[in-house]
């Protein structure tokens, strides 16, 4: 249940590839050697590992269109664990190398196979795999910071902290924890006086007025085709984030999520490990099977003892009866000119008060836009600098009719070719919507201030909030062929 070695690699296409940090665990290696017997393959030096890894990931020799070693169709990389084929007299296959990559960072660790190596045990039976994945994900979150892409200086300084971080979370190859933001100072916290043991994941103790902050964010996804043969799809997933400043070593807090009377149940509920107990009914509804109308629909109680830092208490998915914005998109090709008709309708159940709402109409595999002769019934239309995207800024409100439309034509007579996309050829095109509605959830799910219970002496201040955000909200041109996006369309 340990890792043999760990690598952090920065990879920037066309620029530099380098092992920025690596760590080997020789005592684990020794156990691995013993377990693997004659099939043992030692871990090569960093340079070799890097080369082999890039080949496996299909990133090596990007100038060559085909390389047998890299592109053989026999290599089926289906699992999160790669094989490295080490050459030479002490060569063989190194497995399972767990890899997580995000932006320019590639994190990899070699998990120990703590079972007889022959025949190769299934990945799912190796305990070290989930441990390794958790460790890598934790390191990734730490290295990338809050943004999705780490800035150069920030990354360098965080990489410099790796030795001390690993001393705490993985000193000898067995992962014990993941890096906590700001945890390094907390390690010298005094031992609590009472008999209550302090949770190992609690990196600090709050003093002062109790404040509990519960924020509910819902994301809505949609694929609308405007086609009778293709069922439109939409769904919602939500997360509840908490920040609890409550005194005590192991204070008890309960947050309750409620749904409106006819609301469809929350599905696929996932909870943070600090949730101390769960009712079986909370977990029963699942998106992969049909919903039972008599199913449990709340209230959903989550008793927990909060960690020091903000955390995601739970997440869920939900199937709502209607999409918040229903749209149609029609394109007609007319001699290097596209006639565009778009209409968007805000559903009456949705509060007409956006923080922002934009519709993006990108065009691929064509030249840059020349003349744009488009009228909108509401909001403003902008043409991007690159002249391949129309941005329709709808602003804070739909008009009273809750319907907006766009009509006109665009010619593609620009001098330069626009961006290419293998999917959006001919009349295959989409509109992508970006919006945020504060104080709204589509599922109707909410956290009532009064339902938050804190079992402590002082009366806490409780702040709750909710919002709806768009995510992958597509409206496809109904005159073109649109790609299938989900198996549910088959049913």
């Amino acid at each position: 249940m340990s890792v043999r070695a760990l690598w952090i690699i920065s990879y920037e296409r066309g620029e530099s590839v380098a092992v920025r940090f690596s760590r080997r665990y020789p005592t684990v290696e020794q156990r691995a050697k013993c377990m693997a017997g004659s099939l043992y393959v030692s871990v090569p030096e960093d340079g070799t590992v890097l080369q082999l890894l890039l080949t496996e990931l299909g990133l090596s020799d990007s100038d060559k269109p085909y390389m047998a070693l890299r592109d053989d169709c026999l290599h089926q990389q289906r699992s999160p664990a790669l094989e490295l084929h080490v050459e030479g007299p002490s060569g063989g296959v190194l497995w399972p190398l767990l890899v997580i990559s995000q932006g320019p960072l590639i994190l990899a660790c070699l998990a120990v196979v703590d079972a007889p190596a022959d025949p190769r045990p299934p990945l799912a039976s190796l305990f070290s795999v989930s441990q390794g994945l958790t460790l890598l994900a934790g390191l990734q979150a730490f290295l990338c910071g809050s943004g999705s892409k780490p800035d150069r200086e920030g990354l360098t300084s965080r990489l410099a902290m790796m030795p001390s971080i690993l001393l705490q979370i993985c000193p000898l190859g067995t992962p014990l924890d993941i890096p906590q933001p700001g945890a390094s100072s907390a390690s010298a916290m005094p031992t609590p006086a009472g008999t209550q043991k302090q949770p190992a994941w609690k990196t600090g103790v709050h003093r002062g007025r109790a404040v509990v902050n519960v924020a509910l964010t819902e994301m809505v996804r949609s694929m609308q085709y405007g086609n009778r043969n293709r069922q439109d799809l939409w769904d919602v997933y939500g997360t509840v984030t908490c920040k609890c400043e409550v005194e005590g070593v192991l204070p008890n807090v309960t947050v309750t999520l409620t749904l409106p009377p006819n609301g469809s149940p929350l599905m696929d509920v996932l909870v943070h490990p600090c949730v101390s107990s769960l009712d079986a009914s909370v977990l029963t509804a699942m998106s992969v099977e049909d919903c039972d109308s008599s199913a449990f629909s709340g209230p959903y109680k989550f008793p927990f003892s909060p960690p020091f830092e903000p955390f995601r208490l739970c997440s869920y998915t939900s199937q709502v009866p209607v999409p918040p914005i229903l749209g149609t998109y029609q394109l007609k090709d007319d001699d290097n000119q596209l006639c565009i008709t778009v209409s968007l309708k805000l559903h009456e159940s949705v509060r007409n008060s956006f923080e922002y709402c934009e519709a993006h109409l990108p065009f691929f595999n064509r030249d840059q836009m020349g003349s744009v002769d488009v009228k909108v019934s509401s909001g403003q239309l902008e043409v991007s600098k690159e002249k391949n995207l129309l941005v329709w800024v709808l602003g804070q409100k739909f008009p009273k009719s809750r319907e907006v439309s766009l009509e006109g034509s665009v010619s593609f007579s620009g001098e330069l070719p626009g961006p290419t996309d293998p999917l959006c050829t001919d009349l295959t095109a989409y509109i992508k919507l970006y919006f945020r509605v504060p104080d709204l959830t589509l599922s109707g799910c909410c956290v009532d201030q009064h339902s938050v219970q804190v079992y402590s002496s002082a009366k806490p201040r409780i702040v709750t909030s909710r919002e709806l955000l768009s995510s992958e909200y597509f409206i496809w041109n109904s005159t073109g062929t649109a790609p299938v996006s989900s198996g549910h369309m088959m049913l």
């Binding site: 020789p26 997580i100 703590d114 007889p116 299934p122 039976s125 999917l423 049913l491």
Partner: protein, 964 residues
């Protein structure tokens, strides 16, 4: 020097082998330890200095002895460190753990490892900061981690300390209780496992073990277990019980009476909530193992935790739950739970909030789902409960990333394969239709200028699809037609198509799909209008046609017509251009056609084509080859042709095949394969060291003309040494050592290699201490004959021991060339010794004068505090007179400057290129003193260990003699 440390350390860590090329591991280790002791070095640098020991202890401390010495040094550094230097002290503990475990000190039960264990345990016992205060938390945590690692590598080490570990865990209230819990759980699991291996152990023994508080149990650890000797049960010590298929879990028969264990387990479980997810998962894993071994305790004690674990968002905790299910099946998980868990896995495999690796992992878990009542135990089998309807959540779409898409395609293929079996038509149902539609969408994307990644993914998806549904002709035939259309539009995909054909042919031999694809490709190429053919397309076409020509079942007339059209058509400028590569590609096709079973029917057009090339192609080499082929075609029978062109095995042409040198006639690609140096799987040859020295080799054979012996006699005093020194003016003088070996076969017996010819031995240096070694040629080596002697001449730059990488290239009887690695050649320090080198005819006295002269110089250099390289030292040991005699006879005879007289003698080792080590051996009573003087102080540690080794040897032989 110290300013360099960060760079040097990072150079070492990134490539130890390259770093040690310029120094030796002993010197580097000595430097590191020296710097660690230096008070001026900052803590930050010291932590850095520890990383080589932390990460590569086996390189720096290759033996128990070095490991022990290093550990003692580190312990003294630890003792002297300021209490405030917490990170340094923590890293010291980690480095000590690494060094002691990896150099086998712990399994050898050395005193340093005992001291270290005591130190760790003492630190760990300060629960709740009673003594040292909260500031020392990190140190205490690290001490626990080190103990846990020691227990992990030497299972059972702490098995007699369970009482102590239990009470420490219970006492600790700060966050550190996690470290104690981890340690306790591991020790408990190992102790219970060891009990299951004891015959007749029962409840009483378990109770005693839980309450035990004795010493450490020094068993055998990971470092001593031999890979070949271990039985399955030994491995179970390190591995968690391989749950499921791997056989029975060992069990401890306790009866129902194990209250202590039960209450211990419940208290551990109760506190599991207080641990971080990773540690919690590890704890649960240990407890699952304990419970699996003690059937008297019911697994239902996990039930209270189960819902919390099933609802978790952490992959490590859910994984533990799955492993728990595999261990306890229906005694903990009802059929309902099972159905829930599977649905949950499907849901998680496509959850929008999880990362791709997590989703992939969950998909893998579905394929290896631990069912309560498994029907089959294959590699990847679907759980019965995974219905096609449930699986629709995971259908692949073009919006998936490549890896997820392939994983989904694989999973769904398995689902629909089962569904298809129920479908009588054998044509697959709607699900299969969807998968094929999906493949078509990918194909369209590839047509539209997709990225390289997308192209590769498409071909992988196609292969995967064919692997499962090749038998469904509706789709497989359509796919090959579409691939042909795709190829015409994007001829660059030729290598991908050839690869796909090759792989499907390998994996689906009986299906014939690959041949059908190749036939269709041939038709596509040959029937396409010639007017649109570009040069670039033609290159790819020729590659495809060459592959098609390898198939005996495919008629080749069309190919030939196509080639004839392309080459001979009047509009074609090909012949005029004389492009060698293109011509070669055409010849490549011709060459395969020459081997084609239907050659008879192709004779005329092929002859026409070759003749045309011979006469009209604008490149002489191509003309020559074409002429040769033409001659072969028209004069040789088909059998002979095949024999000449290739020793074709039963396997298909593209696979590695053994060729004779006549393959030179082949075109470029074949030529290379014919001339390839093959690689042997294992070392076939070895060099066996000969102990005899060659007296002639190490003495200059000439008499120096300038200084005849009589003249030197006349010059008194220092004369001897000056003459001696004068010899070195010739740079080649005594610069080499010669080692002799027998070249023999290794134990690998393969009659193919019984007679080897033209053997060329090549040596690579692994460090910078020697000049490059030139290759050595050996005419032949027969297994039945006496092994030839090989003289290896080494020219040291620095007279240190070294290791040479050796390899050999040779030819076997059938004319093939082979490359084979040899075992590394170790040149020990004493092998570098040469005796005093004097011109012939020098008298013994004169040699002694040289000895005294050098000795004097070294000693005076020492006393003046001169900072030269000279050094003196003294080595003492208890040896009796007779033993000293044996020592001298056995080891020093060749280097004696004066004979052994009353237990005294003088010895001189010359070490090329310029170093001397002088020894004065003096025996007093039962002790021997060896006074050492050298003009190269860096040699002292080696001399010292050499003397230690040989005296130890003498001691042991004396012992044996005494016993006899």
């Amino acid at each position: 020097m110290s300013a360099n440390w960060p760079e040097r350390i990072s150079a070492f860590l990134s490539s130890p082998s390259q770093f040690l090329y310029s120094t030796t591991s002993d010197i580097f280790l000595a430097e590191v330890l020296h710097e660690l002791r230096d008070d001026r070095a900052s803590d930050h640098i010291k932590v850095l200095l520890l990383s080589p020991l932390l990460e590569h202890p086996t390189l720096l401390c290759p033996s128990v002895f070095v490991g022990e010495e290093t550990a003692l040094e580190l312990m003294s550094v630890f003792a002297q460190c300021s209490p405030k230097s917490l990170p340094l002290r923590c890293h010291l503990l980690l480095a000590l753990t690494s060094v002691l475990l990896c150099s086998c000190c712990v399994s050898s039960h050395t005193s340093a490892s005992q001291d270290f264990l005591d130190l760790l345990l003492q630190m760990a016992q300060d629960t709740n900061d009673a003594q040292a205060g909260a500031a020392l938390h990190p140190l205490r945590t690290t001490a626990c981690d080190c103990l846990r690692e020691l227990e992990a590598c030497l299972p059972g080490l702490l098995s007699q300390r369970l009482e102590l570990l239990s009470s420490l865990r219970q006492q600790e209230n700060s966050r550190l209780h996690q470290a104690y819990t981890g340690l306790h759980a591991l020790a408990l699991r190992n102790a219970v496992y060891l009990l299951t291996q004891q015959k007749g152990a029962g409840a009483g023994d378990l109770k005693t073990a839980l309450g035990s508080n004795e010493g450490f149990v020094w068993g055998e650890g990971a470092d001593s277990a031999h890979p070949n000797s271990e039985s399955h049960s030994d491995l179970a010590l390190f591995s968690p019980l391989t749950l499921g298929t791997m056989g029975k879990v060992p069990s401890l028969q306790t009866g129902l009476d194990c209250k202590e264990l039960r209450s211990l387990l419940s208290s551990l479980l109760e506190e599991s909530y207080l641990l971080t997810s990773l540690s919690q998962a590890a704890l649960l894993r240990r407890l699952v193992e304990v419970l699996a071994m003690v059937p008297a305790v019911s697994p239902t004690i996990f039930r209270a935790q189960l819902l919390r674990l099933l609802g978790t968002c952490k992959v490590c905790l859910l994984h533990t739950t799955l492993l728990m299910k595999a261990a306890f099946t229906d005694s903990l998980f009802s059929a309902e739970d099972e159905a829930f868990l599977l649905k949950r896995l499907v849901g998680l495999s496509q959850h929008p909030l999880l990362s791709t690796p997590e989703k992939l992992f969950y998909m893998d878990c579905i394929l290896h789902f631990p069912e309560n009542r498994p029907i089959s135990s294959g590699d990847e089998s679907l759980p019965v409960l995974l219905t096609p309807r449930l699986a629709t959540a995971l259908v692949p779409t073009v919006f998936n990333d490549s890896v997820s898409m392939l994983a989904r395609l694989n999973l769904l293929s398995l689902v629909y394969l089962e569904e298809g079996e129920e479908d009588r038509e054998g044509q697959g149902g709607r699900g299969l239709a969807y998968l094929y539609d999906h493949l078509s969408s990918l194909l369209r994307i590839v047509e539209n200028q997709a990225s390289r990644e997308m192209v590769v993914t498409f071909f992988r998806a196609s292969f995967l699809f064919l692997l499962h549904f090749c038998h469904v002709e509706r789709y497989s035939e359509d796919l090959s037609q579409r691939l042909c259309d795709l190829y015409l539009r994007r001829t660059r995909l030729a290598p991908h198509l050839i690869n796909l054909a090759d792989r499907t042919q390998d994996r689906l031999e009986e299906s014939g799909w690959a041949v059908a694809l190749l036939r269709a490709l041939q038709r596509t190429i040959t029937e396409a209008p010639l007017s649109q053919l570009t040069l670039q397309d033609l290159r790819w076409h020729l590659r495809i046609l060459a592959r098609v020509a390898e198939e005996g079942e495919v008629l080749q007339r069309a190919t030939l017509n196509f080639l004839l059209c392309v080459i001979t058509s009047s509009s074609s400028a090909l012949c005029v251009s004389g492009d060698w590569r293109l011509g070669n590609s055409v010849l490549g096709v011709c060459r395969r056609l020459l081997l084609h079973p239907s050659l008879d029917s192709l004779l005329t057009p092929l002859a026409d084509l070759l003749q045309h090339l011979t006469c009209h192609y604008g490149e002489t080499d191509i003309q020559d080859h074409a002429r040769l082929y033409y001659t072969l075609l028209t004069t040789l029978s088909q059998e002979k042709l095949a024999g000449v062109l290739a020793q074709r095995g039963t396997e298909r042409g593209r696979q590695a095949k053994v060729r004779s040198l006549s393959a030179i006639m082949g075109e470029n690609e074949e030529l290379t394969s014919g001339l390839t140096v093959h690689q042997t799987e294992r070392p076939l040859l070895r060099l066996v060291k000969l102990d005899k020295h060659e007296p002639d080799e190490c003495r200059p054979e000439h008499k120096p003309d300038s200084e005849p012996a009589c003249e030197t006699e006349s010059s008194p005093g220092q004369g001897g040494i000056e003459d001696y020194r004068a010899q070195f003016q010739s740079s080649s003088f005594a610069s080499e050592i010669t080692l002799q070996y027998h070249l023999t076969h290794t134990g690998v017996h393969d009659p193919h290699f019984d007679k080897l010819f033209s053997i060329r031995l090549h040596f690579d240096l692994t460090d910078g201490h020697y000049e490059e070694v030139s290759d050595i040629s050996v005419p032949c080596l027969f297994r039945t004959r006496k092994p030839p002697t090989v003289r290896l001449r080494l020219k040291p730059k620095q007279p240190y021991h070294t290791t040479l990488r050796a390899s050999a290239i040779f030819t076997t009887e059938d004319g093939l060339s082979w490359h084979s690695p040899l075992a590394d050649l170790h040149v020990a320090f004493p092998e570098v010794f040469l005796p005093l080198l004097t011109p012939l005819g020098w008298a013994r006295e004169k040699k002694q004068r040289v000895f005294e002269g050098i000795w004097g110089e070294i000693c005076s250099g020492q006393s003046e505090g001169d900072l030269t390289n000279t050094a003196t030292s003294l080595f003492c040991d208890q040896l009796e007179d007779s033993a000293v005699g044996e020592l001298v006879r056995k080891y020093f005879q060749r280097y004696l400057v004066s004979d052994l007289d009353k237990g005294r003698c003088k010895v001189l080792f010359f070490l090329p290129p310029q170093s001397h080590v002088l020894l004065k051996v003096i025996t007093e009573e039962d002790a021997v003193q060896v006074h050492i003087a050298t003009d190269n102080w860096k040699l002292l540690p080696y001399i010292n260990s050499y003397l230690e080794d040989i005296t130890k040897e003498i001691h042991s032989t004396q012992q044996v003699n005494g016993d006899v």
